[in-house]
Symmetry: C2
Subunit: 329 residues, 2 copies
């Protein structure tokens, strides 16, 4: 019987989801006082669920906006609490992350929301902002989840859609401090109430069994590779190959992101003209390197080098970059 | 590249979701003025989304409660509108469906909600209730979707979790009349707003690509089997085999459901004692027939004979029933 045919209430599937959770706890060293939930609806569903669960409608939630996803999270939160942007990189096209001294956080804010890695713009937090004692740190880690170790205890809540690093689209991980559960606004849809999912161990209704099964296999594989410290080393090496090639190109390739916050996962770069970029992408595609076009909202080129991208894939791209440049100088 | 690795914005996946929709429209003969959405979160998410999209908080929504799922839908709707139970079968343990004359529907109700097939209790609508001109008929078809033809034009909205008849858990189909879209309550979470999904052809955020791909394969298979008329004939034959065996057992096996509303999908039956039922299930399991235990909330035995259950599987169960009875008389 395949995983897709089993009852989600049978002991076979229970062992699948329990092992997946245990392995994720092991990978991220998740403290006992945090719940791990396997939910549906993507990070976008959490944009609503987080303020509904953590805030009253009178509470303030602060947002640092370092790209499109942080901006979407802010806009949705305004339906359910007083959302406030305390820093935005929009004016300089989301190429940096603020220092602590640049932040003007709201005293008494319920939480401060960040997007740990902006997929489209390629900016990634290396250190996380400090919040006051009463303010929780909340992070969307959809596009760098399980790419490196994280000190979970610094966060009130971490959430991540699976589809970048850990499994097929259709499951979202929420890691939330247990004392924050059970205070949802009365109008919270039942499927967005963390208490329901916590009490039912993510089995209140039929979960996305196949996607959870696949995530479990990936967690096991990451452990067997040496855990997230080892994964991070590989990711740093891959990213350095690419950024070094960009920086060594004497301006032929340009990465708009400030060096200290360049993403290990998404490497955006531009060339002199859109026509030259289109030619670069076309030639790459002919060599089997696909999906290098920048997000439709920003253009340019973007190499997404998630956990599953082997070093050899990055080396091949770097070779193409050098050869392409040599032909165009 | 597998379906799970592709971008959901690429032309390959677009052709997958478009073909799935086209085949479903073909199967159910869905009129042009209905939208087909592929969403996440199961039918339970729709328990919230439907009143949020169709009602103002002052509107009344009527509910016929013929089992556990209808009851859950009613309870959730009360958060967002004036939910009213116009008939419930709870007192007689959900074994029947009301006639039109038994219904005391609310004049001006926005919609009348039914559960077309109650999975746990095995009661299934054969004819659908009439509503006044101003009242929409809304149906949860999670457990009998694509098991037989349906006149979609009678409904304002039909919804169904995929996991019974059409694909792996993790995708929910919503078929909604287009003129009903775009009136969601202001507090509706963005992922529950049909307008967002309609405008974005179910691709507002990353959809559950693999589950949609699988549904598409099933839709194609159902078409190649001769469409839903042919599927219904097979389902009727399978169900009759089982109900005939129950009714011919002279009370050894009893089905609590009134004959005219017995489900083609879920066949519940009981025996003289729980111990005898447990023995029956144990012996069936030894012969490779599993998951025959009734839902934990009602006990007894339940044979779920969805589209994918072949006639031979039902024949094998009937043979076990006859042999078991012969050994216990």
């Amino acid at each position: 019987m395949s995983i897709m045919e089993m009852s989600h209430r049978g002991k076979e599937f229970l062992s699948v989801i329990q092992q997946a959770e245990a392995d994720l706890r092991d990978l991220l060293k998740i403290p006992e006082n945090y719940e791990v939930l396997f939910l549906q609806g993507g990070a976008t569903t959490q944009f609503s669920a987080i303020p509904l669960n953590l805030c009253t409608s009178d509470d303030t939630a602060d947002f640092i906006v370092t790209g499109s996803w942080g901006d979407k999270a802010f806009k949705e939160a305004q339906k359910y609490c007083k959302g406030k942007v305390v820093w935005t990189g929009k004016a300089e096209k989301y190429s940096s992350i603020p220092n602590q001294s640049e932040l003007n956080v709201t005293v008494g804010a319920k939480y401060l929301h960040i997007c740990a890695n902006e997929t489209i713009h390629g900016v990634e937090y290396k250190d996380y902002p400090s919040t006051g004692n009463d303010t929780l740190l909340v992070a969307d880690m959809s596009s760098n989840f399980c790419s490196k170790p994280v000190d979970v205890s610094k966060f009130g809540l971490i959430y991540a859609g699976a589809q970048k690093n850990i499994g097929p689209a259709g499951v979202t991980i929420v890691i939330v401090r247990k004392d924050l559960i059970g205070k949802a606004q009365p109008s919270t849809p039942i499927m967005m109430d963390y208490k329901i999912h916590s009490e039912n161990r993510s089995l209140y209704n039929t979960p996305p069994c196949f996607a959870i099964y696949m995530c479990g296999l990936v967690f096991g594989d990451l452990l067997s590779q040496g855990g997230l410290e080892a994964i991070e080393r590989k990711n740093v090496e891959k990213a350095e190959l690419l950024y070094d090639a960009i920086d060594a190109s004497e301006g032929f390739y340009k990465c708009p992101v400030e060096k200290n916050v360049r993403s290990l996962m998404n490497v955006p770069f531009t060339m002199a003209t859109p026509e030259m970029e289109a030619q670069f992408i076309k030639e790459a595609s002919a060599q089997g390197m696909v999906q290098l076009k920048g997000h439709r909202s920003v253009g340019g080129i973007r190499a997404s080098i998630y956990n599953a991208m082997p070093r050899a894939g990055v080396e091949r791209l770097v070779a193409h970059m050098k050869a392409f440049q040599a032909r165009h100088i």
